[in-house]
């Protein structure tokens, strides 16, 4: 199982759609793609996780790193399309209280 990342840029907004499994094997690839995107200041990034079928702490680590970078550069960081499973992961780790998650079921 692998991971694909589709990036769509529309005036100042970047939509990143991740598909597949995010684990110790695929997280470095995701990190590299996100790093490319977060180089510029004031970016507004939307990360669509609809097609992510598996994620663990390695994926959370990559997203936290991206979140920190974008926030400190004055951009916005939004997560969308979380399955119940992913939502649970963000809830138990406390990240749902810190990050902006669209369509959150509380």
């Amino acid at each position: 199982m692998n991971i694909t990342v589709d990036v769509n840029k529309t005036d100042g907004n970047t939509i990143m759609k991740i598909s597949g499994e995010i684990d110790a094997y695929t997280a470095p690839k995701l990190k590299e793609t996100i790093n490319q995107l977060t180089k510029e200041d004031g970016k507004n990034v939307v990360i669509d996780l609809t097609d992510v079928i598996y994620m663990d702490s390695t994926g959370l680590g990559v997203l936290v790193a991206a979140f920190k970078k974008i926030k400190t550069n004055g951009g916005s960081f939004i997560l969308t399309g979380l399955s119940n499973r992913l939502q649970r992961l963000f809830t138990i780790t406390g990240l749902s209280e810190i990050m902006d998650i669209k369509g959150e079921s509380k």
Partner: protein
Amino acid sequence: MNQPVDVVEVKLPPKPEFVGVARLTTSGIANRMGFSYEAIEDMKIAVSEAITNAIQHAYKQEENGTINLHFHIYSKKLEIIVSDKGESFDVAEVRGKTRPYHQDESIEFMREGGLGLFLIETLMDEVEFHQEDGVSVQMTKFLEREQVEMDAEAFSPK
């Protein structure tokens, strides 16, 4: 219930590309035993975290060595043991540091990892760490936990 009914053993190279193989094995066994979707997904994460830890800490991403993945199948529970013969780390120290994020956390200083042990302990019913010539993590998930919990007033699940 002291002896497992069946035992499955898998030896994996300490390489990230095999974490997915461990997950598939876990879901195959757990599915056979009749665990719920939620319980299987919890176990997949816990197993991945334990193996990722072994790769990163015990073997420092060197590709020599073996990670042992043992499944002890009982009628009412699944015991999963992940062990390595790699470099030890201070389990107590790491356990003390692993915790969820706090709402008021400063974004600038947010940790970018270290949630692995926290997730293992949160997602499994029982977790034990042993250190002896490497590190081993023993994680247990009970079948029909909901029912056991409902009866918990009367008797303990063990």
